[in-house]
Amino acid sequence: MITAQVLFALLIWQLSPGGLIPGPLRVVEALGNLLSGRLLYDSLLTSLILTFKALAYSLVLTLLFSYLSVLPFFRPAAEFIVKCRYLTLTGLIFIFTLLTRDGGALKLSLLVFGIVPFFTTSFLAVILRTPAQELELCQTLGYGRWETLYEVIVIGKADQVFEVVRQNFAIAWMMITMVEGLNMSEGGIGTLLIKYNKYNDLPHVLALQALIFGLGLCFDYGLGQLRRWFFAYTKI
């Protein structure tokens, strides 16, 4: 049914008077053009490496602050990070430029700064939703505070880390195209997108958008599968 709906939407798109907006056939043609060259693969690789690096750093920072947030001393810091979602990256570019040594580090730090508040918000919500009975079961088994933290939050919520990454991956993926525009020498799909936009090459822009969208869906699916694979109990 979904396939039929997608085909119907594409048909309407193709038949509607386009004007400046290219039809799906032209987009497919541009996509073929992109796929036949090396530039797209190099750009994708650059973007993926940057994304995964940023995800790894963000995850470490998120887990650190989230786990520590159960201690009253670290709670304000975690709450401040959550509020940082409302900061725009554009206004911080100059400060980050001063703090980082090159374009690569600038992009990475901006991405991490952008991702961590979203990851932390989601993971703190997971921690706050911890049922009292999980903690009470630990108490009845004679667990101390650290043992309870380890069992209930670190081990018990490990599968949720995957879910948090899955749900917030879109933020990272969305920001990658933005930060890559800041330092175009290293390439990346963001750079490619800006280049095609600059020359108003809409078929290639839309082809790239379709690729980015498709890759995002693949990550979404892949992370979901990984969660089920690593944590068999999530399937129950």
Binding site: E134, E136, G142, F231
Partner: protein
């Protein structure tokens, strides 16, 4: 009547109250549970706490389990501890306030860690018990066979039936090694066949050790009375706000303890009526 003696106090509540601000839920609760000794039998204790809904049964359950502190009063447990006397080691009775972890607690919904298999959950508990050091796996196998859950050891709690979850919860708390087992509404929502199995299981647990003490919080008066030796009734009186223990019924004195043929007994039926009248 079967000969028995009530010996040392194992658990005692003195003047226990629980208030939230101006509102008192429990007031001046006193009770004690004594070690019942029967010649030739490892006889544990089974005490039921009954009361109408909203009387604070669960609150008292939480206080006794050490999960919550009373506003006033103390709940103390007495346990045998080895002590050096004159170059030798003898066991002496020591008294101390109840803390979380002292009691084996079985919650109404038999909560288990969803991310641990049954065996992993049981191992976590067994490792807390110094008496089982190095023999944890063996102890788990033994309990699993005795309670008929050997075939579900590798499953997660979400894959178990209600009865299996209950047995896992009980074994987990038994493996932990506590002499006290608190059960919150263990008969709730069970059909008649499962109910019989559960009562049989609890009696089996009570006979596993001389000091094993089951405290059952329930509103199923008939089943609670049928397996208990003592019943505490939580209710209200004219003395003040909040619930308190209005009555203690010694079922041994009435010849109602440790019997399986009670349901049609006149004394049993009269006792049920007496309890209902107190509620």
């Amino acid at each position: 009547m079967t000969p028995y003696i009530k010996k040392e106090v194992l658990l005692q509540a003195q003047g226990v109250s629980l208030c939230y601000g101006e509102k008192c839920i429990l007031r001046d609760v006193h009770f004690s549970i004594r070690d019942i000794v029967r010649p030739g039998i490892r006889q544990g204790q089974v005490v039921s706490l009954v009361g109408r809904s909203g009387m604070g049964k669960t609150q008292l359950f939480r206080l006794v389990s050490g999960l919550q502190k009373p506003t006033a009063g103390t709940i103390t447990l007495r346990e045998r501890k080895p002590a050096e006397v004159g170059g030798g080691v003898i066991e002496v009775w020591r008294e101390r306030p109840v803390q979380a972890g002292d009691m084996g607690v079985i919650f109404q919904n038999y909560y288990q860690f969803g991310w641990r298999t049954v065996k992993q959950s049981l191992l976590l508990a067994a490792r807390r018990n110094p008496a089982l050091a190095g023999k944890e796996e063996e102890a788990i196998r033994e309990y699993a066979n005795r309670f008929d859950i050997a075939d579900v050891l590798q499953r997660y709690p979400g894959q178990l039936s209600g009865g299996q979850q209950q047995r896992v919860s009980i074994i987990q708390q038994l493996l932990k090694g506590s002499n006290f087992l608190l059960l919150d509404e263990p008969f709730s929502g069970l059909d008649i066949c499962v109910l019989e199995k559960v009562t049989e299981l609890l009696l089996q647990v009570s006979l596993s050790d001389e000091l094993k003490t089951l405290i059952i919080v329930s509103h199923d008066i008939a089943t609670a009375v049928a397996i208990s030796d003592t019943v505490f009734i939580l209710g209200r009186d004219a003395a003040g706000e909040g619930s308190t223990l209005v009555r203690e019924i010694d079922l041994i004195e009435r010849g109602l303890a440790w019997r399986s043929d009670l349901r049609e007994d006149k004394v049993f039926l009269d006792t049920l009526k007496e309890i209902k009248d107190c509620l």
